[in-house]
Symmetry: C2
């Protein structure tokens, strides 16, 4: 486990990039998240690190000699730590690199931030017991939390091709739905369009097919975390999902934030992982002292909504909820160990979604399905609008950050996506 | 629909590659399936076409100027037809290309046949109503065929990273299982390991995200078909699959045959697609006159088993079943139209599994789950062995072929995979 902090986490560090030193900045020198960007007018993807409101081009700064994010991600942890150490040194106030690196620095506002990498395989988990219980009640009132939930980190495969970078806009999906009292299904635009607040876990070091990753090694295969919105068509989902799981209700779009925050940056925000009293201990392959001691992360997560009326009025949006990744029932290390215990091979750039990260309180639901109680209770917005499900023109913005006394804030930036009208 | 035959299908055509003219050959000049291969000792993948017991290196023959299978697959149908026409002309007896192409011809036995292409996204469908009903009875005795089955081409996402070429050998997966009468699950090697007889539909031309593919255009996006074995761990599946579908029970291994047979080669084996009287007509986006008239394919499929005892005795194996793709409830065109109707984008090299292609008779089950009635009735093999589930050392071989009076046999070759003992 990457629980050890080092000098790169010191709150006292200041950067010669002045915007990184401002209070409330998501990208201080203690963060250093990785992403990909294109310079204006160019098709070429470059690897960058966010620092304040700038991005440092790693190749232009002489830190790497390629622009292959999968290759970077696949490095052993020690090599990635060394790179982080070099970045931290070079971006500090007084660094001798300042003159040279300044030429490799671009304003984030002037580049095109893309997906952190091409996603090979995408798996979505179901790690919030609060989400599983609330949603389970709606789909199966008599049987909300299935007997396997506390034993198996439930997950399923998702669609990689439709994962896009923050800023994604997609048409409302069409599909089959069937009303509870209808004899036959009908075809048309989704009427229960929803978001899902998740974190995306990017895999770094691959494992060989046929050999699993022990939980004690699991985090050596995690490159970092990003914000992730797994858009969902609830009416399509209800009709299609049995017996093989959600399909067209999910695979029309998923959105990832541009910056991947490393476990090294998150080290100060580790926390113990524990289960409610009375819940079973995990099976041995999902258990380790280190995972119990510090397998969790204290990451605050928020969902914001900007309706088209708000956008026209120049308003940036309203916060719908706030939750914390620390409330998840399974840790990132457990997800990696479980995914590979049967010999399944993970590759650099694969993405594991945590599943919707709802908190324990009703107002902490990570989807409209939860906040509107399955569509029964519309949400009242401060400008007088209401929402039961997403409407055309709505923009959903996910935010995430870590704050702790004695440490600099570590932010995830934003993950933003917009619903367009259905195609005729 | 590619229902039109042309001169490349003529039974009278003979090739200057003599082995292609032998009766019973899978790869006559009327077939011309595509695949990838490596020459002995080389890491480089080349694109080839099977002809008799040889493979023609397309670049060495001057037919293409690259070795990028995705690029080849993404060509419009007309370009692929032109390539097929050129191949057919050049491989015919008396072709002026014979001298030059002979140098581009290698024995299949001397090359390494790989995956036809890297698979981006893999989706598995559930198109055999016979499989769905028989399996449904075992997992849900009171509710075998769910109400959505006759309306929705049920599908779910699978794992691309663990798809390998024919010849794959993989360790028996480990995982959680729970006996019906047990209080808690246990961890260990799968005890109900199974195969699934499927066809894999390789996507060629991509569609843009946000725009669907009409059923009338669907086959223009199908590059061709191959044999596909979706190995399954039934005991792991039973415990994990609710509510989000199969996961670790499937993603440890899937095996694809080396040759992709094009729709042009299959044109003589088209057949009408129809449903049993009384079943509902499909919704409009899944229906077209052409699909009704000729959406089906008459492809005979077989599963063979070679146990380690058979292999030691020099026996090639025993046939366990035979079925026909024509018995599927949904056509390939319907799968493509359904998959994209919500705007989901398919890419060149994506793979759609048909799902287990069981026939209507009990002995036509496409998996041991069906043939052994859920493990209750062991299968007796001619050498005195029995099988309820797969044992270590078992090799499963899928075969497929089309035969029709007045036409040359079109074969799929073999899809072969072997079970190794579980890792400790």
């Amino acid at each position: 486990m990457s629980t050890m902090m080092d000098s790169t986490n010191d709150a006292g560090l200041q950067s010669w990039v002045k915007s990184a030193n401002e209070a409330g900045c998501d990208f201080p020198i203690q963060n250093l998240p990785y992403g990909r960007f294109q310079k204006g007018g160019s098709d070429e993807w470059r690897i960058g690190v966010a620092i304040g409101d700038r991005v440092l081009d790693l190749r232009a700064a002489g830190l790497i000699d390629h622009a292959d994010m999968h290759r970077l991600m696949a490095q052993p942890r020690e090599a990635l730590r060394a790179l982080r150490g070099g970045l931290s040194e070079g971006l500090r106030e007084g660094s001798p690199h300042q003159m040279r690196w300044q030429a490799a620095l671009l304003p984030q506002a002037e580049v095109n931030l893309g997906l952190p990498c091409e996603v090979g395989d995408y798996t979505d988990f179901y790690t919030s017991i609060h989400h599983a219980t609330t949603v389970g009640k709606q789909f199966r009132p008599d049987n909300p939390l299935l007997p396997n939930y506390k034993w198996v980190p439930i997950g399923y495969h998702g669609r990689a091709s439709s994962i896009s970078a923050s800023g994604q806009a997609f048409p409302r999906p069409l599909g089959q739905t069937k009303a509870a009292d209808a004899e036959v299904p009908t075809f048309g635009p989704c009427r229960r369009l929803d978001y899902e607040l998740e974190l995306g876990i990017f895999i770094g070091r691959p494992n060989a097919a046929g050999s699993g990753i022990a939980i004690t090694e699991a985090e050596d295969h995690v490159f970092g975390l990003a914000l992730f919105n797994d858009w969902s068509a609830r009416d399509i989902q209800a009709w299609e999902y049995q017996p093989l799981g959600p399909f067209l209700s999910k695979n029309f779009a998923s959105t990832v934030s541009p910056w991947v925050v490393t476990l090294e940056a998150l080290a100060p925000f580790r926390q113990a992982w524990q289960r409610p009293a009375g819940d079973p201990a995990p099976l041995a392959y999902l258990d380790s002292p280190a995972n119990r001691a510090a397998g969790g992360f204290d990451i605050t997560l928020e969902v914001w909504l900007q309706t088209s009326a708000m956008a026209e009025a120049g308003a940036s949006g309203v916060r719908l909820m706030r939750a914390n990744y620390g409330d998840a029932y399974w840790t990132a290390a457990q997800l990696v160990a479980h995914h590979t215990v049967n010999g399944c091979n993970l590759r650099a750039g694969d993405l594991l979604g945590t599943g919707t990260l709802s908190g324990p309180a009703p107002e902490q639901g990570g989807s409209l399905l939860e906040l509107s109680q399955g569509g029964k209770r519309p949400i009242e917005l401060p400008n007088g609008e209401t929402r039961t499900w997403l409407e055309d023109g709505d923009t959903v913005i996910l935010k995430g950050y870590c704050e702790r006394e004695g440490f600099r804030r570590i932010g995830f930036g934003e993950c933003r996506g917009t619903v367009l009208p259905a195609l005729a």
